[in-house]
């Protein structure tokens, strides 16, 4: 399996560590994402996947290590400065602004963008998720889990990401909805979006991904192309239940 070679990866993380109090949740994670690539980060519950994405976005402090984004060290930047550089995240558990309308949620996703960009992108998001256009005046908190997931992804897309971070987009969704969310991810990837996908649904994520990383208790234990990892005995036993 050949991996598309790019001179410098869009995201290069090395030796990243992060703690909750005295507990080290990330113990030196190194990972790369090239431009246009879909990389899956899989692992069991509590492995540190969400912490890793939170640290990338800057809402969780890094205690050691380096995050290079487009050649720039960003590990000391505030979250909103990282958003302005193009790191947008759809967080675990969706985290929509419940009492605000869908449209307000999406507009806030474009908080760092100009008004012209926002109205243009709003149209694109409604094309991607037509159901949101019909319900755009409703409070986001009243939607089903799947629709809230659409709002969360749409909100992240409104920031015009150069790197889209998706944390557990299929969590807690009905099988049909999971399929729909994965279809959207496939479509975004076909459009050239660079995506880092965190999933407990390892099979679905690895089937989509160019490359994958397996995270276990704060350390990367395996890496390879999506197909390779799907065939890996260890992965099959631990995460796919095969």
């Amino acid at each position: 399996m050949s991996i598309p070679e790019t001179p410098a990866p869009l995201l290069a993380v090395s030796g990243l560590e992060s703690c909750y109090g005295r507990i080290k949740a990330l113990k030196g994670v190194s990972l790369e994402v090239a431009s246009g690539e879909l990389v899956a980060l899989v692992g069991a519950n509590g492995a540190g996947k969400t912490t890793f994405l939170r640290t990338l976005s800057g809402v969780q402090p890094a205690s050691a290590g380096q995050i290079l984004f487009a050649g720039e060290a960003i590990e000391r930047l505030r979250p909103e400065q990282r958003v302005r550089r193009g790191i947008c995240q759809s967080p675990e558990g969706r985290q929509v602004f419940g009492p605000l309308s869908i449209e307000d949620n999406l507009r806030l996703g474009g908080y760092t963008r100009s008004a012209a960009e926002v109205s243009e992108d709003l149209d694109k998001i409604y094309q991607l998720f037509p159901v949101l256009r019909d319900k755009r005046r409703l409070a986001a908190g009243t939607l089903s889990g799947g629709q809230q997931q659409m709002v969360a992804i749409g909100r992240a897309l409104m920031g015009r990401p150069r790197l889209l971070l998706l944390d557990e987009p299929s969590m807690g969704l009905a099988p049909l909805m999971v399929e729909e969310v994965f279809a959207v991810i496939r479509r975004l990837r076909a459009e050239g979006m660079t995506i880092l996908l965190v999933e407990q649904n390892a099979f679905g994520a690895l089937a989509l991904a160019d490359r994958g990383y397996v995270l276990e208790t704060g350390t990367i234990t395996l890496t390879g192309s999506g197909a390779e990892l799907l065939q890996n005995e260890q992965v099959r036993a631990a995460y796919l239940g095969l």
């Binding site: 976005s57 505030r78 979250p79 967080p91 307000d104 507009r107 908080y111």
Partner: protein, 291 residues
């Protein structure tokens, strides 16, 4: 009978409007940070005191009023930056106690600089009462009620129609998600301190021609504003407005029909009843979801 009732009602609405502004101040800071800022009353006092001082210093009234709003908001920002921000990760209760400390400092400084005396600000448009249904209403009452109404409408517009306002609301609903869309949440925090200080100070300026002011007048105004915010349901803008008017009218009716010695006790009886029977207040929508 009716004239008397109207008289009490008007004076209740007037003072209630001030409580409502104070309650809105509590609400804005609470929403941005879950902190109850017990220095809110001092912003009200500062507004009144500074308006008097600037007017005595020879500034024309509009300028004195403007300065009496701007300076307290700067004090609010300073307080957030120097007192609240450094202990951002501390328990909410600790921060609340720190705000009490800040209020003591503000009150102390004002007492040292301006003394313990009571100060009077001249009414904005004369002292000739207007008769409505037999009740005599001071023109200043219309200023208090009218400007407060404008502020409420302005805040409503800001929080429901502008992206900046919605970003502040979004931060109160979900801080992490707000940071993830690129909202600078520490800006939201100090902005909320500036705004609530400004709104409180404005209330203080408006009501001073009716009530006079002194270094310690913020204590009661702040506490009653707090009662109003809790009665309305902490975190709710509409609740703050209704709570403020309710507390003001109840107090005026109590003073008129019962005895003015119960005036200050009634709001606290009200807060006890509300906490017994409607712990989330009249408009309390926010569930406590923090762990």
């Amino acid at each position: 009978m009716l004239a008397q009732f109207l008289q009490y009602l008007f004076s209740g609405i007037t003072i209630g409007a001030t409580y409502a502004l104070a309650a809105l101040g509590f609400t804005m800071i609470y929403n941005a940070s879950t902190v109850i800022n017990f220095a809110q009353g001092e912003f009200i006092m500062l507004g009144g005191m500074l308006a008097v001082m600037f007017q005595q210093a020879g500034f024309p009234l509009p300028l004195a009023v403007l300065l009496a709003i701007i300076v307290p908001s700067l004090v609010g920002v300073l307080m957030e930056k120097m007192v609240v921000e450094p202990v951002r990760s501390a328990d909410t209760v600790n921060i609340i106690i720190i705000t009490i400390g800040a209020s003591l400092v503000i009150r102390g400084v004002v007492q040292v600089v301006f003394g313990k005396g009571a100060f009077m600000l001249s009414s904005f448009s004369g002292d000739t009462p207007v008769e409505i249904g037999g009740a005599m209403i001071m023109p200043q009452s219309f200023w208090v009620i009218g400007v407060s109404a404008l502020v409420v409408v302005g805040l409503w517009y800001f929080f429901t129609r502008t992206l900046t306002g919605k970003a502040m609301l979004a931060t109160s609903f979900n801080r992490t998600a707000a940071e993830l869309v690129g909202i600078n949440t520490s800006w939201v925090l100090w902005m909320s301190f500036a705004m609530s200080a400004a709104v409180g100070a404005l209330g203080g300026v408006l009501v001073t021609p009716l009530t006079m002011t002194s270094y310690d007048s913020g204590i009661m105004l702040g506490l009653k504003g707090f009662v109003a915010a809790v009665v309305g349901g902490l975190g709710s803008g509409a609740g703050a407005l209704v709570g403020g008017l309710l507390v003001g009218v109840l107090e005026a009716m109590g003073a008129g029909y019962l005895s003015s010695s119960y005036k200050d006790a009634l709001p606290f009886v009200l807060i006890l009843l509300i906490l017994f029977f409607l712990p989330r207040g009249l408009f309390g929508s926010r569930q406590t979801e923090r762990v």
